[in-house]
Symmetry: C2
Subunit: 559 residues, 2 copies
Amino acid sequence: MSRGPASTAEDPGRSPMVWHGWGDPTRRTGLSPAARAVLTDAFGPLDAPVVPVTLEQVRVGPSRLAPAALAALVAVTGPDGVRDDHRTRVEHAGGRSYPDLVRRRQGDAVAAPDAVVLPRSRAEVAALLAVCGKHRIAVVPFGGGTSVVGGVEPERGRFDAVVALDLRRLDRLVSLDATSQVATFEAGVRAPAAEAALRAQGFTLGHYPQSYGYATIGGMVATRSAGQASTGYGRIDELVVAARWATPAGDLVTGGVARSAAGPDLRALMVGSEGAFGVLTEVALRVRPLPETEHHEAWALPSFASGAAALRALVQAGVAADITRLSDEDETATTLAQAGGWKVAALRRYLDARGLDRPCLLILGWEGSSATIARRRSRATEVLRPRRAIRIGPSAGTAWARHRFDGPYLRDDLLDHGIMVETLETAATWSQLGALYLGVRRAITRTLEGLGTPPLVLCHVSHLYPTGASLYFTWLARQQPGAEVAQWQAVKRAAGDAIVANHGTITHHHAVGLDHRAWMEHEVGDLGLEVLRAVKERLDPEGILNPGKLLPDLPANPT
Amino acid sequence: MSRGPASTAEDPGRSPMVWHGWGDPTRRTGLSPAARAVLTDAFGPLDAPVVPVTLEQVRVGPSRLAPAALAALVAVTGPDGVRDDHRTRVEHAGGRSYPDLVRRRQGDAVAAPDAVVLPRSRAEVAALLAVCGKHRIAVVPFGGGTSVVGGVEPERGRFDAVVALDLRRLDRLVSLDATSQVATFEAGVRAPAAEAALRAQGFTLGHYPQSYGYATIGGMVATRSAGQASTGYGRIDELVVAARWATPAGDLVTGGVARSAAGPDLRALMVGSEGAFGVLTEVALRVRPLPETEHHEAWALPSFASGAAALRALVQAGVAADITRLSDEDETATTLAQAGGWKVAALRRYLDARGLDRPCLLILGWEGSSATIARRRSRATEVLRPRRAIRIGPSAGTAWARHRFDGPYLRDDLLDHGIMVETLETAATWSQLGALYLGVRRAITRTLEGLGTPPLVLCHVSHLYPTGASLYFTWLARQQPGAEVAQWQAVKRAAGDAIVANHGTITHHHAVGLDHRAWMEHEVGDLGLEVLRAVKERLDPEGILNPGKLLPDLPANPT
């Protein structure tokens, strides 16, 4: 047992991520022999590795920022707060989506922002918005740069130039109200730094998205992040007590009391607005006393469908774990094959003998006092046992916990070898979940088969609610050389259409960005879009904030 | 033990409330000798009873509905769907706020709506909105008529006429998804009917505002109701899975999946919009299996402050009861005096001997299986015991449960005797709660003392959150004959100002209506108001929906 993900040492301090991939590349381990075997088995012999171009080889366009505009920005932040050097522009040329990485690895950062501005205070953020409005500069609020949906693409929209508004200098824990268990952070604090500041005083936020090492508090709130422990701790939108947003129309402060019936909840209207309504500068979040300990365990279930039914029983009985992750048959097979070794072979025989020939792996993570964990586990066991669940000991659970933030590094290794790997996530009510699973799986498989690149499609459930759950898909396939982005677009389109046809949400926790905006009309309806546009027009009349994100273009865009 | 509030038989079927007071007047018991003693002790000898005027004596203005408009409304609903008889207009002349009752008891329903329309379907609601837009008629969505903040006052705004849109005929349970535990209701279903329909299939909504007997599902959602069991079951806004709103700009459907990150939460923007953004026609709510049993118990605590600290410890440890109600010293003294008898005298001596000379009564209500309740109570006891809490047996708990919906009847009895009784509620973070309590208490007391009518001010905490709690104030004072409404306005203004000065919300669960709109600017800020107005303008461009409610008038209203 250890005290949470701080133990993974995923805390890179203040260094930016590598510009062409994930995180700190020295932490990459390369493909293990077992992983190579899985890939060879699925796709044939691997290509020789192709690594990204060097930073110097990356193409960026000339900065379009007019001298007067540049001077006005510098007047706000001082010279060190406005940067247009090659490295800084490339580092802000987008997020970490699959097409982002494909383009940048090939040396394409043509769309890089014209400059990056680094305010030190709320007042500077407001002043920068005023300058950008006056000089007709689009503004992309930039946190950790971890978006996988194009949320920080430097789109100019109808403006002459675009800057990334990097919030990394707004990095303070403003206050901690230990009585009310509320912590107020500036928006640019990275998740590990926020967690460290809280733990020093005996508290935790308990919010661990896979992007944990680099994500910022502001980015998580602006994108309605879920976090791996959301079943226990709640989604970030449930943790927001109050928030302060800088908008071109002024500061908007939402929330602040425990709970209110004073009209519509503006807090929930701004959370998830993805930098299109305002720039989050400060946020008060519910925190909790640091749990005494944590425990991860693993179970095997006879099928994905019966496993999902077991999860439903757990959450509806109020005895779900804080972290839950149920892999489908194929994801389980891949996980076991990657783990390899005689222990796994023995486990397979053991399960096979008990009728689990296509087992589904379930990871449960518990946090709290030892006594509470023991009590909760005992009640969960009562629910799981009659459903032919077999406990397979803690080692698979602790292995998952140890590697829980490693997925993005693996992606870089796969891209080196010409393997596409992409994920998407959705959610639905329990009664719709089975059809949604089959529909999306089929859409991904058929599309890639049709392109001559048959995939491996894996799925897990990772977030439970009394009324439904999330599905998280991963697929791997050989890249189509020279057509990598078109190949990705084809799958993305088919999967998105399958999601909405099967009553899922287009995104459960990755947000909308550029990649999901085409489905927003389906998600909220024509009139819902009009309401969102009305809010945007009131807060950002010129439309300088994050153009092209969140909302689909108007049918007849006047610009 | 009994199976929830259905056992109180508060289910009046389809009859409307009495026009001058609360509910079914045959259920009134009159003031008990003990209650009379409390009042006499506080205010001197009671006045001889003055009862309301008769229905025939009530004054209403002539209906201002033009013949063409009336015909157009009738064309939608048929003749029985449009009513302008005296009784129906008086019954819809407002809600059940203190000034509402004072005026109607005296025969003043001059502001009654020009007609009442009773659609039978969503399509009819939409068609009625179109007719009202065309004929320039203001529309007041009307559920149970239980608003205590002026939420259903028939304000014409800048229109020629006003109709109440009574949703009582939209009274179906549309569907029950037992797998996802989601029930979809039409908006006009009364809470007891909804609960009965669910219980017939083994489920419960678990939502019991004090207005339970008459409130409708739609009204509870539109006003962001809390419910006495919100600590266990969640507020109504947490139970809404999806909702359909008829607006002058078309139907808006919000939500539907378990949880989503697809942009801002429009569901939370519409919940609490109080009929000013749209008319709720259908709503899907989270439901739960009917608990096996329930148990109410009572404790005494040494002071209100130490009691509040104990509640904080309970909720932050995750072991709060489903229902919690902690009375302050004065409310406890009044409750005990009203109960009277030798048992109470013995209890007082028992507590006094243990140092609780000014005890605070704590009611806890638990629902679930016997085993779960036993386990939860045992954990709560571990928290309470070290805080000098003394268990005083279940009888005070069951007495509270038996009378939990009776408060509004008592008000009518007090009004008969010239006693003003009014309530208000607020919430704040735990760290602000003490100052808020003192500030509001002082404002109410000093204002009424200044008017020469010194009050009895009582308070309890009734809704717990990890970050804070609600405060519910009740005050009683002699009415100022002929100046009843002015007297009320003076207290209301002073209390509201004290709330915002002490970081409370202007309303935790009564909503905004007319009475709290003056403080909305403080609650959400200038820019927040502008956002709300932008949403209203998009959904209701003519402004026909519930004029004057929720949003304060513009500083320079162009109309």
